[in-house]
Symmetry: C2
Subunit: 338 residues, 2 copies
DNA sequence: CTCAAATTTGAAAACGATTTGGTTGGAAAA
DNA sequence: TTTTCCAACCAAATCGTTTTCAAATTTGAG
């Protein structure tokens, strides 16, 4: 059913019907009500593409998916999708074709030029992120999930990675640990730096000297967790506690600890960061995993929300959200054994 | 840059330019080459929404995302996205607002009516799946990822779940196991039935009587794996082998086995199904996990491919792909201990 | 009761492409 | 030479809305 047809059935002009449905003020309430009601009854829905063409809105938000098949991605997207369900806005998923750097900029540039999105969400930003500079230059609205130090105004939502790791590390120190290892995310991303800072600050403020040997970084896979924890624990002066970057890393760490005949929550304490997954919970691990926790899904929902505001004109300068992170203590952390 | 403008710069009519770019035959090769080249140079790209409006194509494939935040979803999508990158087709992610059944049909109906997708991918179909009937009735092209027995013609791509589980179970029987437990997916989905059948057939063909107590089903979470494995192993006549539905389930099973002081690959053999994740690999588990393996990402890529064919006119009746599943033996399976 | 102001409504022009149904000019056929 | 045909191109209509500008109607003040 087209607008023409629908309007004719109502004995109104397309103009009025369009206005009634889009909530313009210059249409009487009684007419608006009738139009709305009949639209439902007769099943009239404006053609999306016509609307988009006319208004110049793309009706979609772009999300670039990293190549490494990040497991938290689905949660973030689920959160976004939930928020956008009632909106006339879609999510456009763009895969990173190539991890090559130059290619990444190309991808963003093409995405903007394609006019297929009204806004873009940038994940895992770097301190000096060219993507941000590019999007700003091109005038494409965008929200950064994470933070960047770049000297370009931008909207962002981030969790307090630094604080989270500082608290986690401090707590381990409180428990008497002094040799605390840290498995971080891929170097380069701001969140990894923040976590690093939280870790270092905690040590320093307690007068513990930092041992660079105790720091590793890389993708959030179980394999990295295992390899690094294993090699750490096998060395002469092994750590008594490990701060792990993700649930998957934690799995690897647990495995490494066990494989050496040790026990998590005894010889080795572990705290990991938990993005809250329905299928793998810190509570269910054995022993249950102490974790810094922040819901990825909730972040997705809120990001979608903020992007919508951005698109409808809110200034990026006003949009800065730093979410606190909970520290939840469970069985994987214990006082150091003397 | 608009078509008008671009055409004028070339000294051609919009008609010819449009045809040249869309590969119509009635334009000379030399002209086509020139147009293509200049389009790149001047950065002309047809406005997506105008194209979509005019052609009536939505330029997107709909994927309904289950509410349970399935972890394999991201992999499937990554696969799809990879294939669609070079195409002018987007992925539209629609979240299931409510697990309520009636609501689900509403969702699909609205999705079709919204005219926002050219085709839909249906996940985890049931033997008699109303969604399939609905989409067929509404004339919306769709591809089923999985299978259904419903008496409605439809395209599908599925992996050989039945064969996979049969082989896994048979292999365990070969190793001397007779009490073999099975942790299946949510009851109702066809794949769960197929796995069940594979399991039963394997037992029956070897004359082993089925014990209903050894079967469980539910979401693919570590928690289910743990709970069920634990309660199984604690009973009077415990199983000596477990077939698990997913990697997450397997994690839970491993945990349960260990928590009872037993060892996977000794007292208890385990085989799980592995969708191949970059962040959690069967090879890295300890002991390494024997698994039936099939790449979710590859399935996504192929599904995208098939949907494109579907949209451009290929008959759904011709599209039936059954992918074989590998069985990869590692350390988690061993001869039964007498 | 009149006239201006305020409220509702409509006609028609966009939005930026595709595509139908012609033209044109030159080569091949008669 | 004339006719026919074909390759290559183009003008204009169209897709289904929104929105500008103008007209019609109602309201309210004097």
């Amino acid at each position: 059913m087209k607008l023409r047809e629908f309007a004719k059935q109502l004995g109104l002009s397309p103009t009025t019907v369009s206005r009634a449905l889009s909530g313009y003020p210059e249409v009487s309430e009684v007419t608006r009500a009738r139009v709305a009601e009949e639209a439902v009854r007769l099943g009239y829905r404006p053609n999306v593409n016509a609307v988009r063409l006319k208004t110049g809105r793309a009706g979609a938000i772009g999300v670039v998916m990293g190549r490494a098949g990040e497991f938290h991605f689905a949660e973030f997207m689920a959160g976004m999708a939930e928020r956008l369900l009632t909106e006339d806005t879609d999510i456009l998923v763009i895969p990173m074709a190539d991890p090559d750097h130059n290619d990444e900029m190309q991808l963003y540039r093409r995405l903007v030029e394609s006019q297929r999105v009204d806004a873009i969400i940038v994940h895992s930003p770097r301190p000096n992120d060219e993507r941000i500079a590019l999007l700003h230059k091109l005038g494409m609205p965008f929200l950064v999930h994470g933070r960047s130090d770049i000297d370009v105004p931008h909207a962002w939502l981030d969790i307090d990675n630094e604080g989270a790791v500082r608290r986690a590390t401090s707590h381990l120190i409180d428990l008497g640990h002094t040799r605390i290892a840290m498995i971080n995310g891929r170097p380069g991303a701001t969140y990894a730096l923040h976590r690093d800072k939280g870790y270092r600050d905690a040590l320093q403020s307690r007068g513990i000297e930092l041992d660079p040997q105790l720091i590793a970084s890389g993708n959030f896979t179980d394999e990295l967790g295992f390899r690094f924890a294993r090699s750490l624990l096998e060395q002469a002066n092994p750590p008594t506690a490990i701060v792990a970057g993700s649930m998957m890393t934690a799995l690897g760490v647990y495995r490494a600890v066990r494989s050496l005949g040790l026990q998590v929550g005894r010889e080795v304490s572990v705290i990991a960061h938990d993005d809250v997954f329905p299928y793998l919970t810190a509570d269910n691990m054995a022993p249950s995993l102490s974790a810094t926790r922040s819901s990825m899904r909730a972040a997705g929902t809120r990001c979608a929300d903020l992007v919508l505001q951005l698109v409808s004109g809110r200034s990026p300068l006003d949009i800065h959200e730093l979410w606190p992170v909970e520290l939840i203590l469970r069985e994987s952390t214990a006082p150091v054994q003397c």
